[in-house]
């Protein structure tokens, strides 16, 4: 009977009921959808972090001065994490923990790479052509180099007017003129080594530097990394072969930082147009990109020798229907893109220009010289061969996932001066050739700043010049020695690492009882007396990423909170109105002998009925939305979202627990909402029945 009264009342005041119902339903729906989304986001972040960088657990030295924060390491200064002295011991210690599937040795680092000017690149190509062939490329390379020297003379003239050291400026100009002279090149064939040395030392540094790159990288057991990190895919080139040194570019980094800037800007404009629907006509960022492309035509034309220049000129003239004879002006005109012609120009760029230029500063097969320093400030360099470009499946557009490139662990150790007991004599040889004396890392301070003068390191100019970027040939050659040396798995594993990633056999366990397993891993390490600590991925990812996912969660709860607060106010208001309208009815019921509690019950049931009806509807709608979104996926539209979604789309999941939480939430809201009106109603005196309405 009470239920009937409640339902009839709800139907009688259907407008009010619908408003309240809509809020309750929307709130419930949001709770269900929001939880589905949050769960999916948490799973997405977990995937993005665990399957690209952290694994389920991370190990690092308990002597570390800083905390391991995987993503901060790339953004700020490389933290002081000390090192795990012998990875193999850790590996062995953890064989006692059956849940552990794989342990991947790691080290995070950052190196400086001096961006090579076109002149440098051409000189490297020339050296390679002379030593390794093909010899028939030599004439065209020489022609190109002389062309670049020609433009360099003009640049130097301009510089000389503002230069402080006119003497040096004059010397530089003389060098360039010599490099551009017929006499120099006629001598070249007789003694290419000396000529190349001159060009490397005197001319190459004068070229327009393409800047300094910061390469963040993870030094690791690449084979093991590739096997265990689920999102890792080789995009082009190949995996570094087992036992070999090498470098793998992260595709995101490769596209953003290594690609020809004009091409990259075109890519960015295309992405903004395609993904975010931006228009060149209205977007000042895009206009600026186009302006830069127009001004920096040298990014393209400098790379074109006479022959290629002709090819591009002819094709562009045809493409644009222009008779412009000047290649620079022609390219400038070509890059003047609008919303109307962009897609055609973009296509034409990759068809006409891209094949004729070096699209990336470093291509698969190239060797990169990475410069770094040890913790004691000691300069280091390694050369590594680029074997391929990799991507993380679904995270190709994520900047966070795009932070780290990959490198073999041996090169990492060399570059970061981590003592390598396996081949000390080999390193010694390298050092001697580079004119660098070994300094024990632990005693570096003493040796550099105190103690016997005999022990002070003799560092020749080559090393310092190398860091200054003036003459990198010495260190470059030294680094080259190590480049091709192979290593065994035992050598790889027996050395020091900075950190390590642990994968569990059963990924479901990583969700349910990661803490237990973490404790067991910690116990095993302690038992073996290893000063190594273990942290879960949630901690290792660092505050940057955890605040990202917690931020989204907080946003959701605030949103739900606001909706329910509004619902609460509206329900209170509505029930109070309902009370006021029914004063006589309630009075009558009381006069007939209904206790106060009966009236409270009456209101509770009315609110409860509303909750059940609209809560169920809201849950059903929410479940339907979650299922639909889960099947279809919400596309990621920004860099961050790709990471947060753990891929291209977010696929929310529906769980019974979500519905339970929704029931709980709406129940609490209803309870609070009906409390005050019910009490007010129960205080209506029975005498109210006697007071006629009209």
């Amino acid at each position: 009977m009470l239920l009937r009264i409640a339902l009839r009342n709800l139907r009688l005041h259907w407008v009010r009921t619908m408003i309240v119902g809509f809020l309750l339903g929307a709130g419930t729906c949001l709770v269900v959808v929001g939880q589905g989304a949050i769960d999916a986001i948490q799973a997405g972040v977990r995937k993005s972090v665990v399957d690209t960088l952290s694994g389920h657990l991370q190990l690092y030295s308990s002597n570390a001065k800083d905390e391991l924060e995987l993503y901060q390491s790339a953004a700020l200064a490389v933290p002081d994490l000390d090192q795990i002295d012998d990875f193999a011991k850790v590996r062995d210690a953890l064989t006692t923990v059956p849940e552990v599937d794989a342990i991947i040795p790691m080290g995070l680092g950052r190196s400086i790479v001096w961006g090579e000017s076109t002149l440098e690149t051409k000189l490297i190509e020339l050296r390679r052509a002379i030593t390794d062939g093909p010899r028939d490329r030599v004439p065209s390379l020489i022609a190109h180099i002389r062309l670049l020297c020609g433009t360099l003379v003009g640049d130097l003239d301009k510089l000389a007017k503002v230069a402080a050291d006119t003497k040096e400026a004059e010397q530089q100009k003389a060098d360039v003129l010599r490099a551009n002279s017929d006499a120099f090149w006629s001598e070249f064939e007789k003694d290419p080594d000396t000529a190349l040395e001159f060009l490397d030392n005197r001319i190459a540094p004068l070229g327009l530097q393409t800047g300094i790159y910061f390469f963040n990288y993870v030094g690791t057991d690449l084979q093991s990394y590739g096997k265990n990190f689920g999102l890792f895919r080789i995009e082009s080139g190949q995996m570094v072969p087992d036992g070999q040194r090498g470098f793998l570019f992260n595709r995101f980094f490769y596209e953003k930082n290594v690609k020809n800037r004009t091409a990259r800007r075109l890519d960015e404009i295309k992405e903004a147009r395609d993904l975010a629907g931006a228009l060149i006509a209205t977007n000042s960022d895009l206009q600026r990109q186009i302006e830069r492309n127009r001004q920096q035509v040298g990014q393209i034309t400098d790379q074109l020798d006479a022959e290629r220049g002709q090819l591009v000129k002819a094709a562009l003239q045809k493409e644009l229907g222009s008779t412009e004879p000047d290649l620079n002006k022609l390219v400038g005109e070509f890059l003047q893109t609008t919303d109307e012609n962009f897609d055609a120009r973009y296509e034409a760029f990759y068809r006409i220009i891209a094949p004729q230029i070096r699209l990336y500063a470093y291509m698969v097969g190239d060797t990169i010289s990475l410069y770094g320093q040890t913790k004691s400030g000691y300069p280091r360099a390694v050369n590594v061969k680029v074997w391929g470009v990799f991507r993380y499946e679904g995270l190709e557009r994520s900047g966070l996932a795009g932070v780290y490139n990959l490198m073999d662990l041996m090169s990492f150790r060399d570059l970061n001066g981590m003592s390598d007991p396996i081949r000390p004599e080999e390193l010694q040889a390298i050092r001697e050739r580079a004119g660098i004396k070994t300094i024990d890392r632990d005693k570096a301070e003493d040796e550099l700043f105190g103690g016997d003068s005999d022990l002070v390191a003799e560092v020749d100019n080559t090393a310092f010049d190398a860091l200054a970027g003036n003459d990198i040939s010495g260190l470059r050659r030294a680094a080259q020695e190590a480049q091709n040396s192979a290593f065994t798995q035992a050598e790889l594993e027996a050395g020091p690492v900075v950190n390590a990633a642990i994968f569990l056999k059963d990924p479901a366990q990583a969700l349910e009882n990661l803490e237990d397993i973490q404790a067991r891993v910690a116990a095993a390490l302690e038992k073996s007396g290893l000063p190594v600590k273990v942290v879960p991925w949630t901690e290792a990812r660092g505050t940057l990423v955890s605040s990202l996912s917690s931020g989204i969660t907080i946003f959701f709860f605030v949103l739900v909170g606001i909706i329910f607060l509004v619902a609460l106010i509206v329900i209170v208001n509505s029930l109070l109105m309902s009370t006021m309208e029914r004063v006589q009815e309630i009075g009558t019921i009381r006069a007939m002998g209904a206790q106060r509690s009966y009236v409270v019950k009456m209101f509770a049931i009315e609110a409860g009925a509303m909750t059940v009806i609209f809560g169920t509807a809201g849950m059903a709608l929410g479940a339907a939305i979650v299922l639909a979104l889960g099947a279809q996926g919400v596309p990621a539209t920004s860099e961050v979202l790709f990471f947060v979604f753990g891929g291209k789309t977010l696929n929310p999941v529906l769980e019974v627990g979500h519905l339970g939480v929704a029931v709980l939430a709406i129940g609490i809201v209803t309870l609070f909402a009906s409390l005050v009106p019910a009490i007010v109603a129960s205080r209506i005196p029975p005498i109210a029945a006697m007071q006629a309405k009209e």
Partner: protein, 249 residues
């Protein structure tokens, strides 16, 4: 619970009752010393112009209000010393109400309205509830309209429903506040006839009215004026009893 055997033969007993209402800064003296005693089975009218205090008397007897001074005893119980909850219980078991504006619950149909007071009691079985409800609906002649809602009924029909509802709990006293005020005279007459008939079962009826038609059917008319009893005429012969059975009484 205060039992006073000396006056226990009266189902309703008001002794020197006053009732004051605060009205802004002044006080309205609605009742200034009223004595009324009703015996079981009486059919009495409380007459007087509006504002005379008759509704106040009904409220006090109906236990929806308490006297300022004096004593109101219903079925031997002093209402003033009872708790709110106990007064509610007294209403539920001893009193029935018929209101001037019927006060049916709009969202319930006729049957449910009549049944409602029984649902408040937990001493009546489902079968008994149904039996009593159907019986009373039949007695007020609305069996055919059982599934209709108050909004679909005429004023007279609604008041019949209200009578059925007031009687379904078999109360000792039925209080009716101007039960015919919202009805035309013919309908009002039929309602009065119906109540007379119910009265024969021994239920005490007390009306408030200023309608001469109502007064003419009463055997006792208590006239109230300015919060005091002006006259109390016992043993009147009801003149306009159109019910054949009533004439024989």
């Amino acid at each position: 619970m205060t039992q006073q055997p000396s006056s226990s033969n009266h189902i309703v007993a008001l002794e020197n009752v006053t009732k004051d209402y605060p009205l802004g800064k002044t006080t309205v003296h609605a009742l200034r010393g009223v004595d009324i005693a009703l015996d079981k089975g009486e059919f009495a009218v409380l007459a007087g112009p509006s504002g005379s205090g008759k509704t106040t008397v009904l409220n006090l007897i109906g236990c929806v209000d308490v006297a300022t001074t004096g004593q109101v005893r219903i079925a031997g119980q002093d209402t003033k010393v009872l708790s709110e909850s106990a007064r509610t219980n007294l209403r539920l078991h001893t009193l029935g109400f018929i209101f001037q504006s019927f006060n049916l619950i709009p969202v319930l149909d006729l049957y449910q309205n009549v049944e409602f007071p029984l649902l408040l009691r937990n001493d009546i079985s489902k079968i008994e509830r149904k039996r009593r409800t159907l019986e009373l609906i039949e007695r007020v002649g609305l069996t055919k309209q059982m599934k209709q809602r108050p909004g679909e009924l005429s004023g007279g029909q609604r008041q019949r429903v209200a009578i059925a509802r007031a009687l379904v709990t078999r109360p000792a006293i039925v209080l009716a506040d101007e039960p015919t005020a919202n009805l035309d005279s013919a309908t009002g007459q039929s309602i009065l006839d119906l109540m007379r008939e119910m009265n024969r079962d021994g239920t005490t009826f007390l009306f408030s009215t200023h309608d001469p038609q109502v007064m003419s059917v009463a055997r006792r008319v208590i006239r109230i004026f300015d919060g005091k009893i002006a006259a109390d005429d016992h043993g009147l012969q009801p003149q306009a009893d159109t019910h054949p059975a009533a004439a024989a009484h």
